[in-house]
């Protein structure tokens, strides 16, 4: 088990969480930039998300008079739980001691915890928008979460472990294997990621149109540093899904030793993988229209179906062979 007194056990996760947090706005900036290019607009600087966050942190926070203490605690709660979720996903190095603290099911639980508080905060102020956002968010997530777990179960059944660190280690050791189940799980997980991070076609992070808002409706009452924390948490979550997909399905390049060269190579490989994924997201966001809310269940049904097919093909094609 993990030696809790070793420096490595604490330093590595701390460093990687820091990296996660600092790099997340960059990824969002990159997605925005690619999207602008695709839509023939002049893109903002890659650093724009950082500036936005800095601006929000500098501003005074306005809180509704009707809000309860829960409202003010929620941004910290959401940020902390997203951070914790991010800290157990192997980012650059395969060997991550804290992955033993929380496995992938706990990771899903953490995301659910953040969402739970966010939805409550949406209902706290007593406006119509907040309740609307909360209701929609919980509806979407209640279908996305099982699809995600099902896709993840397929992977863990192959890897024989729900510990992300050892699962990726196992997959890396196996080399290139064309598993049908992984293809389906990948597709399913991507759909879930789109739904959970509030991207088009499920939600539009750039709109404040009441008919379509989901995530934005819940955080409508937030301002100043509270809003900054929530925005930042959303960016970390986007990156988290990206890293999860990149490092599980395409584990190549991740460092197996803790030498500087290996880590630098891993950083380069990860940046490349994420950049490609971001381009895919931007392409999808540009070419697809936002769905009606009641088309979203069908979209998530597809994710569920894909995850189920992944499971079926794992058992039928891969176990018996």
């Amino acid at each position: 088990m993990v030696d809790l007194l070793s420096v490595e056990a604490w330093l590595l996760p701390l460093a990687q969480t820091l990296l996660f947090v600092t790099a997340a706005p960059l990824l969002s900036g990159w997605v925005k930039r690619v999207k602008c290019r695709l839509q023939n607009r002049r893109p903002p600087s890659l650093l724009q998300p950082y500036r936005d966050l800095a601006k929000l942190f500098g501003k005074e926070a306005v809180v509704a008079e009707t809000a309860s203490p829960l409202f003010r605690a929620t941004p910290y709660m959401v940020f902390a739980s997203t951070l914790l979720a991010a800290s157990v996903v192997p980012l650059l190095a395969v060997h991550l001691p804290v992955a033993a603290v929380a496995d992938v099911i706990v990771l899903v639980g953490f995301l659910a915890l953040g969402r739970f508080f966010l939805a409550l905060a949406g209902m706290d102020v007593g406006t119509a928008f907040g309740g609307m956002g909360a209701s929609r968010e919980m509806t979407i997530s209640s279908m996305a979460e099982p699809a995600m777990l099902m896709a993840i179960f397929t992977l863990t059944m192959t890897a024989g472990s729900t510990n992300l660190s050892s699962a990726i280690e196992h997959l890396l050791a196996g080399g290139l294997v064309l598993r049908p189940s992984f293809l389906f799980a990948l597709l399913g997980l991507m759909l879930v990621a789109i739904a959970e991070t509030g991207r088009i076609p499920v939600d539009n992070p750039a709109t404040h149109l009441e008919l379509t808002m989901v995530h934005e409706a819940m955080i409508l009452e937030y301002s100043g540093r509270h809003l900054a924390l929530l925005e930042w948490a959303a960016q970390v979550k986007l990156m988290l899904y990206g890293v999860l997909i990149a490092n599980i399905f395409f584990p190549w390049g991740i460092a197996t030793t803790l030498t500087p060269e290996a880590l630098a190579g891993a950083a380069g490989a990860l940046a490349l993988k994420l950049a490609v994924l971001a381009v895919a997201v931007a392409l999808a966001e540009t070419s697809l229209a936002k769905m009606r809310l009641f088309r979203v269940p069908q979209f998530l049904n597809l994710a569920y179906l894909l995850a189920l097919l992944g499971m079926l093909s794992h058992v039928i094609l891969e176990v018996g062979a």
Binding site: F79, L84, D103, V106, G131, T139, S142, F153, G160
Partner: protein, 672 residues
């Protein structure tokens, strides 16, 4: 020692019941006599149970009651100990909660003597059920439990709906009891005696053991509220006084689970994997339908009752997995699944009692049980609000609280399904796990609804606006349960280590790896497969929270400004603009539409020229499909048969004499 404490507990609760018989004259007797005594009895039960669990020894004894040839046999082992502990803990909380809660009945027409008396009898009955070691004593205790709870359900009998619910409850309890009796009958016939020891030794063919299993599953499942026999539960549990609802939903359902475990895992012996599949299917259906029905309820106590069905479903998923693993020769995995189920049973007792008590506090303070008229209670009842939040997080199975720990264990045992040889099972078990995930996610949505609508936002009705914080004893009871919820979530290793005694007792196989890495690490199937450390997780949350607060929170200037919420520039917001409970559930209702029987009518009211719509009338009625598909046909069939049978009753005395005459002839022929 454990046995002595258990006896003390039974006697204490009986005395508490006897003491409250004078409560109609002296209401203080209840507050200063009956409830403290009940609390002591609960403490004794909890201590005895803990002792039995810890030591793992088996104690038996006889009581000089019962049939001449079968004295009541009593036994305390690890399984009994666990359930004694469960009953005891909740009873202690109830004894703190009760005095404050019954204050509103003091000046009413209700008989306090009946309330206190039957409460004592009810607790004693439950304790005796888990102590019983022969079928006869078991059934007597079971009936005491059922009947006492019937009188508690019918306590507020002036409303016809309550009487109807109570009658239905009585009926179902007895139909269920009949099945249990038949199951014992089968076992006793092969084992040659009504003692559990004799039944254990019975050699049953697969057919007969399946019959016994089916009967026990029906009987205990009916009491536990499994789909599709659940429809009585959300009628009966909410109408009882809230601390009784807590006992019924939190504890009595677990007594049914105890009975099921005792019969299937202990008396019948090694379960067949096919039974496990049945339990898995029924459990998954109960979990999913339970939470979906809970989602659309607007009555806070009904919602909680439906959520009990969901949780019992989760427990049966665990039990089903245990049976599948045991039946296919994987005892270690079987004990993992069984421990997950027991763990969840305990957790559910804690958080469901907590939530019922919170709902009771709201009900007592505002006389409101309709979510549509609630709102803003967190500001008015901060302590209750906080404790209910803890309960909601726990029941929504979010880390690091207790609901998550047991669901995590269930997931882990389901993921070990790869080891099974049967390919179809290998597919079915992960799919069940996905159903469990869906249930968990929907439960989160459901409790966001409950908490968000009731405790957050602005009051939607007049009554909740004047709500005040409840009595300190009620707060203490909830606080105790809330602390236990967190404790059971933070130290799963200690819980699993303790629960290990139960599978050791039942099939001699424990979970050696689960706590092998010390108290910090829970590793149910070996460290390389999965691990979970709740204490470190809490440290992580505290660290992340603290660091982000330290680094990002500005100091030295006014940090927040309060202002009116954003109204889009259209003038002030009113509480009626908030999302209601029905509105919150509407998207989910639309997605899972076929599940409910929905009767929705929208009527347009136009002005006299019929040109302009001046108003809309919306009516929505959501009812349980089990009524029309199972209960009503069954009721009609029974009535039809009864009508046929009444033809025997002609009213002519000579015909009756002829019946007696022929009966006599047949009997004489039989004994000759």
């Amino acid at each position: 020692m454990a046995l002595l404490l258990a006896y003390l507990a039974v006697l204490g609760s009986l005395f508490s019941g006897a003491l409250s018989l004078g409560a109609n004259r002296h209401p203080a007797l209840l507050k200063y006599g009956a409830f403290p005594l009940l609390g002591l009895a609960g403490a004794a039960a909890a201590a005895g149970g803990a002792e039995a669990l810890r030591s793992g020894e088996v104690l038996t004894s006889h009581l000089p009651f019962g049939l001449p040839w079968l004295a009541w046999q009593v036994k305390v082992d690890a399984l009994t100990g666990l359930f004694l502990l469960l009953i005891g803990v909740v009873t202690v909380a109830v004894s703190f909660y009760g005095p404050g809660y019954i204050r509103e009945f003091q000046h009413g027409r209700h008989s306090l003597a009946a309330l206190g008396g039957f409460t004592g009898l009810f607790v004693a009955g439950m304790l005796m059920v888990v102590l019983a070691d022969d079928a006869f004593f078991f059934m007597v205790a079971w009936e005491v439990m059922s009947l006492a709870s019937y009188f508690l359900v019918v306590f507020q009998h002036e409303q016809a709906a309550n009487r109807r619910a109570a009658f239905l409850y009585l009926l179902m309890a007895h139909v269920g009891g009949l099945f249990i009796l038949l199951a014992y009958g089968v076992l006793a016939a092969f084992g040659g005696g009504f003692g559990f020891e004799a039944m254990r030794g019975a050699e049953l063919s697969l057919l007969w053991s399946s019959v016994a299993f089916g009967l026990a599953f029906l009987g205990f499942g009916m009491k536990a509220g499994l789909v599709p026999l659940h429809a009585w539960l959300p009628e009966a549990h909410p109408v009882a006084p809230s601390h009784i609802s807590a006992l019924m939903s939190g504890v009595m359902l677990k007594v049914a689970v105890y009975g099921f475990i005792r019969v299937v895992f202990d008396l019948i012996g090694t379960p067949h994997w096919g039974w496990g599949v049945a339990a898995l299917l029924v459990g998954s259906a109960s979990a999913l339908l339970g939470v979906l029905y809970a989602m659309v309820q607007n009555d806070i106590k009904r919602l909680l009752a439906y959520s009990s069905i969901e949780n019992v479903g989760i427990i049966f998923i665990g039990l089903g997995l245990a049976m599948v693993f045991l039946g296919s020769g994987h005892p270690t995995l079987g004990s993992l699944a069984l421990i997950a189920a027991l763990y969840h049973a305990f957790n559910h007792a804690l958080f469901k009692s907590l939530l019922f008590m919170g709902a009771g506090a709201v009900l007592q303070q505002s006389h409101e049980r309709d979510l549509e008229r609630m709102g803003g209670l967190l500001r008015r009842m901060p302590f209750t609000g906080f404790f209910v939040l803890v309960g909601c997080i726990s029941i929504a199975s979010l880390p690091p609280f207790n609901g998550f720990a047991s669901e995590w264990l269930t997931f882990q045992s389901a993921l070990q399904g790869v080891v099974l040889e049967n390919g179809v099972l290998r597919i079915m078990i992960p799919v069940t796990a996905a159903m469990l995930a869906l249930t968990g996610a929907l439960a989160a949505a459901c409790f966001v609804k409950l908490y968000g609508v009731a405790f957050l936002g602005q009051p939607r009705g007049r009554r909740v606006r004047h709500a005040r914080e409840a009595d300190w004893g009620m707060g203490l009871a909830q606080g105790l349960l809330a602390v236990l919820c967190l404790g059971f979530g933070l130290f799963p290793t200690a819980v699993v280590g303790t629960l290990d005694a139960v599978p050791q007792l039942l099939f001699g196989s424990g979970l050696p790896h689960a706590t092998a890495e010390g108290w910090l690490w829970l590793t149910p199937a070996g460290a390389e497969k999965a691990s979970y450390s709740a204490p470190l997780l809490l440290v992580g949350i505290a660290l992340a929270w603290g660091l982000s607060w330290l680094l990002l929170h500005p100091r030295g200037r006014r940090t927040v400004r309060c202002a009116a919420p954003w109204d889009c520039g259209f003038g002030p917001l009113t509480p009626r603009m908030q999302y209601t409970s029905t509105a919150f559930a509407q998207p989910i209702r639309r997605v899972f539409e076929p599940v409910w029987k929905v009767d929705e009518q929208v009527e347009r009211i136009t002005d006299k020229d019929a040109l302009r719509v001046v108003g809309l009338r919306h009516q929505l009625q959501i009812s349980d499909r089990a009524w029309q598909t199972l209960y009503e046909p069954a009721g009609t069939a029974v009535l039809g048969i009864a009508r046929r049978i009444t033809r025997l009753q002609t009213g002519n005395i000579r015909v009756y004499l002829a019946y007696s005459f022929f009966t006599l002839l047949v009997l004489l022929w039989l004994i000759s």
